[in-house]
Symmetry: C2
Subunit: 241 residues, 2 copies
């Protein structure tokens, strides 16, 4: 596969601790970017994904990994942050065309806004986000039209873009890939998926539930790629595994 | 002046502690909105403007005032946050067509992103920001084309907008007003400008320098409106006053 050579350029990479963003980080690194990983603490029910993000960042050899605390008073109303039950299975989440209750208000806009500020401070305009519009949960701020609109706005927003120093590019290398293709690409690049955590509702020891929307997508992706998911699952959740 | 009646609707209002945002807040309240004021601590050199924001919010009878701490590691490179000298006078700042060193990376994008999240949590899409494109400092993220691009992006970003519950409207009631017109409008609405702080480089007691870009704009606005600025200034800065 042909890879652009970005050696010496910096990129800010949004890193959640999940499978997708770990792969996006590996792709940025494979192009030669000096990577600056950015994670957020926003009242997620568990800190496991931030521990995972730190391990993934270290394994990927990032230049820097910053975890930003968001003000959780402003993000009420999501099953990821509040005491709302996480639905089980795809049928309960996206299959009826509704945006699921795991949606967090304006989350990717806040994440990308911080990334934009940091990128400008680092004298770059290149930002990676691991959104995908194929096997995804139906969040509006993962769609290509949203990403294009953010990029257009960002190029009017910053001094560096307006003065022509660093136009802003929101890089979405996973946007058109299926979950299986993402896993295959990351495996080629040496991503250790045992470090990644996707589950919305893990056990206290970190074992994934196997039945929430993101577990279902992840497991189907591994199954389709013919690879085995090395992450820990609760044994009772996957009796046939 | 005819005023839309928004009684019972909620609005998030960005409130800096300066003259413009205090006026924008008064305009929102005059339309009947239940106002939710939002301020940020982002490594400003002084906390005076946040004290001022709290007093302005109280005087305006807001429903709620939240101050969010931003992660200052991501906002390097501005004279407002770093040990860079604040230029004196308009000639040193915007008059040569350059964006001044008081620009803070992606500041309004981060502010509006938080406002967007909070608005959605509050079940509204109405956000007020006191930007003006007439007597302003040349920041790219105060221009109408930037605001329009943010609004377009926001309407693709949130669940409430995409599902038609609350489209996002970025209200900019000061956009086409001169500084004098802003002051006249706020005075009509009873804004107490003695509470507002605009100076980039005030004395420890809060007295404004009278010579930085924002002081020069403010003083010219009061002069043009024929009103006296009730805010405190350093006496040596204004020998003729």
């Amino acid at each position: 596969m042909e890879v652009a050579d970005r050696t010496g350029r910096k990129a800010v990479v949004l890193l959640s601790g999940g499978l997708d963003s770990a792969t996006a980080l590996a792709i940025a690194a494979s192009e030669g970017y000096e990577t600056h990983a950015l994670s957020f603490r926003y009242g997620q029910r568990h800190e496991l994904e931030l521990d995972a993000a730190a391990e993934i960042a270290q394994a990927a050899g990032v230049n820097q990994h910053v975890v930003v605390d968001l003000d959780t008073r402003l993000f009420a109303g999501s099953a990821l942050t509040d005491q709302i039950d996480v639905p089980k299975g795809r049928a309960a989440a996206a299959a009826d065309g509704q945006i699921p209750v795991t949606y967090v208000p304006a989350r990717n806009t806040v994440f990308l806004a911080y990334a934009l500020a940091w990128a400008e401070s680092l004298h770059t305009g290149d930002i990676f986000i691991g959104v995908t519009a194929v096997d995804y949960s139906g969040y509006p701020d993962c769609r290509p039209e949203y990403i294009e609109a953010f990029e257009a706005m960002a190029n009017l927003a910053t001094k560096a873009a307006v003065e022509g120093e660093h136009p802003v590019t929101i890089r979405t290398p996973l946007l058109r890939l299926s979950k299986a293709q993402i896993i295959e690409r990351g495996t080629e690049l040496g991503v250790d998926y045992s470090l990644t955590r996707s589950c919305y509702d893990p056990a206290p020891d970190g074992a994934a539930c196997g039945v929430c929307d993101t577990c279902v997508l992840r497991l189907a992706g591994f199954a389709a790629s013919g690879l085995k998911d090395p992450a820990p699952y609760q044994p009772e959740a996957l009796p046939s595994r």
